[in-house]
Symmetry: C4
Subunit: 229 residues, 4 copies
Amino acid sequence: MLEHLKKIVYEANMELPRYGLVTFTWGNVSAIDREQGLFVIKPSGVDYDRLSPEDMVVMDLEGNRVEGSLNPSSDTATHLELYKALPLVGGIVHTHSSWATSWAQAGRGIPCYGTTHADYMYGEIPCLRCLTKEEIEGAYEKNTGLLIADYFKDKEYMAVPACLCKNHGPFAWGRDAAEAVHNAVVLEEVAKMAARCEQINPNVKPAPQKLQDKHYLRKHGANAYYGQR
Amino acid sequence: MLEHLKKIVYEANMELPRYGLVTFTWGNVSAIDREQGLFVIKPSGVDYDRLSPEDMVVMDLEGNRVEGSLNPSSDTATHLELYKALPLVGGIVHTHSSWATSWAQAGRGIPCYGTTHADYMYGEIPCLRCLTKEEIEGAYEKNTGLLIADYFKDKEYMAVPACLCKNHGPFAWGRDAAEAVHNAVVLEEVAKMAARCEQINPNVKPAPQKLQDKHYLRKHGANAYYGQR
Amino acid sequence: MLEHLKKIVYEANMELPRYGLVTFTWGNVSAIDREQGLFVIKPSGVDYDRLSPEDMVVMDLEGNRVEGSLNPSSDTATHLELYKALPLVGGIVHTHSSWATSWAQAGRGIPCYGTTHADYMYGEIPCLRCLTKEEIEGAYEKNTGLLIADYFKDKEYMAVPACLCKNHGPFAWGRDAAEAVHNAVVLEEVAKMAARCEQINPNVKPAPQKLQDKHYLRKHGANAYYGQR
Amino acid sequence: MLEHLKKIVYEANMELPRYGLVTFTWGNVSAIDREQGLFVIKPSGVDYDRLSPEDMVVMDLEGNRVEGSLNPSSDTATHLELYKALPLVGGIVHTHSSWATSWAQAGRGIPCYGTTHADYMYGEIPCLRCLTKEEIEGAYEKNTGLLIADYFKDKEYMAVPACLCKNHGPFAWGRDAAEAVHNAVVLEEVAKMAARCEQINPNVKPAPQKLQDKHYLRKHGANAYYGQR
């Protein structure tokens, strides 16, 4: 079942250690088949060097495990809510990558200080509030997903394909698993440079809006001219 | 004698350079066989790339070398006191890993700023005081062990499986050698993110207690649901 | 056409990931054949591990693609203006390397704090202003090139073979592609040490002019005595 | 001539890139044969991956090249003055390693904040003044050596086997080439942790003198008990 998607999700997961985004098992990638209404996700707490495509777990959008002998990622309910609320999302990544997590712990969104950020993400990457006591005591992972979904559902969520969860870490997404991982790598690089940039100039201001527009639209939308289109 | 444990301790020691926790010979791992009352530890000052399982030294809890031709780690007396005072500890790691040592030199415990920390360690990782002149002049390494043992013996020491020794560096422990190394890696990662997080937001506060509880208990205790249990 | 130069430009591009200067496709190197008035540049948005010498694109100085089936780098117009205005430049590099980009985002030039900098670059590496709204809305990449060219055309641009573009990132150049890459590596290293140096001593001052002169002239000019001349 | 020492010096030089202490050719190691009054040093500006033992240059203590077809390191006159003034020194290393150079550029000595430092170096690692205009205009490299020699000749220079030259970078030494490289690696690690430690606690004080004494003497001197002695 969904053999091709399992392979894709497996390979996207294996990119996380390759790009230095995870220590141990601290990350997971999923991707959805919108036609069948099923998504594939990494199993919980399995070492990357023991992972195989067959270990991937198939879930439906009610949260039932449809195939796979292993437990799905403990963050599965978060992924599920995002797929339900954000119909253009095809792949999701969660990590504890070092710089993005440092911003999440600091409780600050990442301002757009330059074109590296603007090339991929339009404006500040938001840091969402910590869950309330009640949200934590209840369906914690689901509530994390609802919080993110609620924030993004009326926004251009494919133009800001990432967020930080306060005191926790980053989520990133894309049209598919590979693009989601790509955005997670960009997020980490942007988080690193923003922190260093503030150290070099504590009074730094975000890049001019015009420059942000230019770079985002150079790579995205109808008139994009970056790459081999 | 204890061939299996020697192999385990050897392999745990070899993880230290692999995870970037040691420069030269600046680290050591031990593990105990509680039934026999013997522990196995790395020899002192031997390069990791020349180490073999047979080089491991077997010690009893009176500090006698029971087997092995090499001198045990100069920190052996510290390990010994921890094994005597903390009966659930099965493996111990000492390193001079860069970020954790920077906190130790700074004389500060590491606050719990997020879920990466809370997943493994319950609350602040304490920084213990420097030894007194008398403690240093006397049995220095033993006194280091007594200080740590004294601090933790009435606490949930398996829930905070690490500490910093002021002006010195970190110790971490676990149920066995592999878990101790795992915790040492977590400690270094957590130390790095806490320092960066304070740089990004100098007024940052620890994560809400409820969130700390949730994440710690998600991975530990009777109702844990992370991983393949 | 220009097979030898294509190979050189290909190899110079491949140095960028090797020296850790690029993530994904965030960099490009070009080199010019002054006699023929043609330059060779990396294609736009192609992964480094799929690149081959044949993929390199040949451009003339009017901005026409003379050979190659792929689109040239989106920054081609910037390279072109530099070649036109700065006749001693034989190779150009643009990257988003992490430390240099952090300075560019911070909007600050990099002061000369020591001999590592002075050995290669004479005095502060300038940070040029952000383009105006009009310049961004118009021929953006060309205007970036005009801004750099205008700043350097009456200066000793081979003695300061790099600059930062505010909110964007670094450009570096040299007599050929290899020297341009060499200077891009130096720039990143110098940017890193300058940031750390200011952290260690917030009141640090640039190195004495006499020391800067000595080190620059030890390696450059008629009386240079570094290396095997 | 001195084939054995050439091989040792070659291998010590090759350790520099292995430990991440050099970019390009920014470092050199030498070692002396005290009986013959000759020392061997790396040639100037030759890439590490093209270096061979035969390329090493043999110098006498008057600064004459006794053997070798390549120019010796441009820092040869500095090494020479150290060998002349400090009779216990058998090997010398100069690099532009990133953290140590950042302290040198900042113009500050590195305080002893912990046992990692105290295990190898007794007390603060000094930062020596910049040369005067006259010293720079004259025999610059020789004057650098004289400055270091003058500072250390009446001190326990084997107990503080390194220094920083303001606005320049570090020198380290030892009884032989391997020990000098070892000390250069320690210096870089100590420089990194001291900078981070000050960031974590801006009011940090050096480690207590008693602890510094204990750790230094645990590894050095008549009563040392670290390692396999």
